[in-house]
């Protein structure tokens, strides 16, 4: 084994430990509990008498009523989709803080991901091209410019 290969050993070990920790920690431990579902639903609903806060964060009367209502609905065994629908029926779509997955929602969910992938792709292409290109040699003009700048700087 060459010395440079040997340098990788602690890194491989590190990768294994890190992956192990992550897998072990997040290994699914069963379905979400009622309390967890209630909490995550409350985060998805806008508090009707405030502007940007969710029903989970706000302390207004209606936010508290929503939290109680959610708890009850979850205990009754209603599905998340049913509960969301019930709220949209009363308050309209603007009660939901999470944009829809399809339709216009694709714009906010998809476009950033698309741009990120496109940007990453452009970077990869650029690096490939740079690797192929010959290193830039300073021309005489460049050298002259540098000399000029240096002297100018000293004068200033």
């Amino acid at each position: 084994m060459s010395p440079s290969r040997r340098g990788w050993i602690p890194w491989i070990l590190l990768g294994v430990v890190a992956a192990g920790v992550l897998v072990w920690a997040v290994w699914p431990s069963g379905d979400p509990t009622d309390a967890e579902r209630t909490r995550s639903l409350a985060h998805e609903l806008r508090c009707p008498d405030c502007e940007s806060l969710s029903a989970a964060d706000s302390q207004t009367a209606s936010a508290r009523a929503i939290r109680r209502d959610l708890k009850q609905r979850v205990a009754e065994g209603q599905s998340d989709a049913t509960i969301r629908r019930a709220y949209v029926d009363r308050y309209g779509e603007s009660i939901l803080l999470k944009p829809e997955r399809g339709g216009l929602g694709l714009l906010v969910w998809g476009l950033p991901v698309l741009l990120l992938i496109a940007g990453a792709g452009a970077l990869v292409v650029a690096f490939r091209r740079w690797r192929g290109a010959a290193p830039l040699q300073p021309t005489d003009d460049d050298e002259a410019l540098v000399r000029e700048m240096r002297t100018g700087e000293r004068a200033s």
């Binding site: 009707p48 009367a61 209606s62 508290r64 009523a65 109680r68 209502d69 009363r90 308050y91 309209g92």
Partner: protein
């Protein structure tokens, strides 16, 4: 158009123009316009249970067969106080009508303040408290005052966001009597 910056910039410029146009169409429009209409309009009135001041339970079933005005209010909200004389005047006109009910549901207030209010004002129409705020939630209220008109067959046929005048209330009642409206 040799340098990619040119066509990238061109595309960006087009996007920006489109974006500016979209923004321009929104100047002057009310961002919460939907708050001024009720999602319940034209649908069955929701199920609810409230508690009258003498401790009786009152549900949507008790309103069946009558033209109903449901008003959400409380003692501390200033627009509600401004609305109160209008409600009084309106109710006095129709108090004798056996097919008419007016229900004031207290939203987000405490019982003591309501009792104090009743001692001072003695509202003649039915006042009920909403423990836990479930009725307010069922009606999809965002604040107070908000007023709903319910037809005798139990449909929500009218809605007013914010304080109502006597005229608004008459319109709501007409809608409730006609069973249509809006």
């Amino acid at each position: 158009m040799k340098h990619p910056a040119r066509w990238v910039a061109g595309a960006v410029a087009v996007l920006l123009v489109a974006f500016s146009v979209v923004l321009a169409t929104q100047v002057g429009s009310d961002p919460r316009a939907d708050a001024k209409k009720s999602q319940l309009a034209g649908k069955d009135a929701p199920e609810f249970t409230v508690e009258t001041l003498d401790g009786q339970e009152l549900t949507e079933a008790d309103l069946a067969g009558k033209a109903t005005i449901v008003n959400f209010w409380n003692t501390w909200c200033i627009p509600c106080r401004e609305e109160h004389p209008e409600l009084t005047k309106f109710y006095e006109r129709h108090a004798d009508d056996p097919d008419f009910v007016m229900l004031g549901i207290v939203r987000d207030d405490n019982r003591k303040a309501v009792d104090r209010w009743m001692r001072a004002n003695g509202d003649a129409w039915t006042i009920a408290t909403d423990p836990g705020g479930n009725a307010a939630l069922s009606f999809g209220t965002r604040g107070q005052p908000e007023t709903f008109a319910i037809s005798p067959d139990g449909l929500v046929v009218g809605y007013q966001f914010g304080p109502s005048s006597v005229r608004d209330l008459e319109t709501l009642l007409a809608a409730a009597r006609g069973g249509t409206g809006l």
